[in-house]
């Protein structure tokens, strides 16, 4: 390896050691129970909650795929800011209701709560399966992103499979040892690092290449003139290089999916109190500002002389082409790894907890002692990590496609979530049948996109059929929405 590759690898290894140290120490103070391991004894304060939600959402997708989308499709990328901005608002209201239920009935996962409220245990099982099937590609995306960054920045000397493997062995170590508190404290460390680096590169690259942000956009507008009414020439105007349907429906499904993500939603059971939960939502937009420099990085690459081999490599490609000191490139590498790992750790921890709590304990009615539950979660963490790693090594498509695949099935949880938290009559069978129809529709349209009319995201078609099925089944089972009694008491 060249000296530069050694320095870059050295900075990345230092960062990984830092994560390991923070993550291993993070779990101190938690009780030796399943609630301690999965929900941090319901005692997370505002700082941990802020970073755990913020850094969890900003992933390898934000650091690699977002600049890649800006680079290829221009203003289409702004949908990311849009859905992130409004997607968390429902949590302001739903979070405290869920937390109250959690405290009263001992819930620590979303599926367990919905199944409990609807009195239909199989609902938890289906939700656990859907969550795991959605989480694996999402986790694979983080592993793939980590491998890609390390590979590109070491000029191909560290293969993608090795870079991804090393990073996720570190994640595995601190998640297994410290549970949600390890995830939380590493997210604080990773969140600060990636925000600082995103701003530094987001402002510096336009300055270095164009003389400033304004000059950069003027240069892009001059190089890619837009003709009024000609959609093919759009770049800086929304929806950029994509269609209006793509922009709106991708934003909508991502917004719904964002509200329903089980690993985010279950943090409602981890917060110290309702005020902490509400403040997490209130300050969440300050984390979204971090997307602006990420966009600037992508736009900085638009007129870059030699194109990268893959659009998602635009940022590492620019950094490698600019003859920067290896230390700076190494720092970027650490920032990108932080983005991927801060999401990956939360996902793997949540998905294993969900499979054990919702699938095994709730759906299959196999009660466990707290110690056995902790052990089962840890074993599943290892299995899920291996499965995601295998998918990351095998999958060769683009990262955005992989993320949008994950959002569709998760968005199907919305009707169940609303019925369980806000409904007066909760028909578990109707919610369950609706969920199955929604997920099957979504997956079928994903694999056969020509069946999806009007270019609408398959998750939205799934959601529409999900709600329609829920209503039809509930009505067939005796629900009368306009009767003075408020309907029957159809329960599973």
């Amino acid at each position: 390896m060249s000296t530069d590759a050694w320095i870059i690898s050295g900075v990345s290894v230092l960062y990984l050691l830092g994560c390991l140290w923070v993550g291993m120490r993070g779990g101190k103070g938690a009780t030796d129970s399943a609630v301690g391991y999965v929900a941090g004894d319901r005692a997370l304060g505002p700082v941990l909650m802020y970073f755990i939600t913020g850094a969890t959402v900003f992933s390898a997708f934000s650091f690699l795929a977002t600049p890649g989308l800006a680079y290829t499709s221009g203003a289409a990328v702004f949908y990311v800011l849009g859905y992130g901005l409004v997607g968390f608002i429902p949590f302001y209201f739903l979070g405290p209701i869920a937390a109250k239920l959690g405290r009263e009935r001992g819930y620590i996962t979303q599926g367990e709560m919905i199944a409990g409220a609807c009195e239909h245990r199989w609902l938890a099982g289906t939700m656990a399966l859907v969550s795991a099937l959605s989480f694996i590609p999402y986790l694979a995306l983080q592993v793939k992103g980590a491998g890609l960054v390390v590979n590109r920045l070491t000029e191909g000397q560290v293969p993608e499979w090795l870079g991804g493997a090393v990073c996720y062995v570190v994640v595995l170590a601190y998640v297994l040892k410290s549970g949600v508190l390890g995830v939380g404290w590493t997210n604080v460390f990773q969140g600060v690092l990636m925000m600082a680096l995103a701003w530094a590169f987001g402002l510096w690259l336009p300055y270095k290449l164009y003389g400033g942000v304004g000059n950069m956009f003027e240069a892009i507008a001059a190089a890619k003139p837009e003709i009024e009414g000609d959609a093919a020439t759009r770049f800086l105007s929304v929806p950029g290089g994509r269609t209006g349907q793509w922009f709106v429906t991708s934003g909508l499904i991502s917004m719904v999916g964002f509200t329903c993500w089980p690993h985010l939603f279950m943090k409602a059971f981890s917060a110290r109190d309702d005020r902490t939960l509400r403040r997490t939502v209130v300050f969440y937009p300050t984390f979204m500002v971090f997307l602006v420099p990420i966009f600037l990085i992508g736009f900085a690459g638009v007129l870059f002389p030699n194109p990268p081999p893959n659009p998602e490599q635009i940022l590492p490609h620019m950094l490698m082409s600019l003859d920067l000191p290896a230390l700076v490139v190494g720092l970027f590498c650490a920032g990108a790894l932080a983005a991927g790992m801060s999401t990956g750790d939360a996902i793997v921890h949540a998905s294993a907890s969900i499979l054990v709590r919702d699938g095994w304990i709730t759906a299959l009615k196999r009660p466990m002692s707290s110690t056995a539950e902790r052990r089962a979660v840890r074993i599943l963490i290892v299995i899920l990590m291996v499965a995601s790693y295998a998918l990351a090594v095998w999958y060769e498509g683009d990262l955005v496609r992989l993320l949008l695949y994950a959002y569709g099935p998760v968005a199907q949880f919305l009707p169940g979530l609303l019925v369980s938290l806000l409904g007066r009559r909760r028909d578990g069978v109707a919610v369950h049948v609706g969920l199955i129809v929604g997920v099957v529709t979504c997956v079928a349209l994903k694999y056969e996109p020509s069946w999806s009319p009007y270019g609408v995201h398959e998750g939205l078609w799934g959601l529409a059929l999900n709600v329609a099925t829920l209503l039809v089944v509930a009505l067939a089972r005796g629900w009368r929405p306009f009767s003075p009694a408020g309907g029957n008491s159809a329960r599973a």
Binding site: A75, F78, Y79, L81, G82, Y83, L85, V86, I89, Y92, G212, V213, G214, N215, M216, F217, E218, A221, E226, F235, L236, S237, V238, P239, G244, F247, V248, G251, L252, M255, R275, R278, R279, V281, V282, P285, T286, M288, V289, V292, F295
Partner: protein
């Protein structure tokens, strides 16, 4: 500004959130925020549109939380005085 029994803050916040959703995720972006020009502080209007909504949503969340907290404090105080004077 608003009494703790007023329902207006709820409606105002919900209405604002709904409008924000239409304007940044829904078709509102394509109707009103899509153009590249004018450039504001060097940024295209299509990006400025999203940033303005971000600021607006943050401010509305701050105000709503402030009001919610005020209601909570008043409720806690009422409960405490109720306990003292049965």
């Amino acid at each position: 500004m608003f009494g703790t029994r007023s329902k207006l803050p709820h409606y105002l916040f919900a209405g604002h959130a709904l409008v924000a959703a239409v304007c940044v995720v829904g078709p509102g972006y394509l109707w009103w925020g899509s153009n590249a020009r004018p450039f504001v502080l060097g940024l295209p209007w299509s990006l400025v549109w999203a940033i303005l909504w971000l600021i607006s949503v943050f401010v509305s969340l701050l105000l709503y939380e402030h009001w919610t907290r005020k209601c909570e404090v008043e409720r806690e105080r009422a409960e405490a005085s109720g306990k003292r004077d049965p």
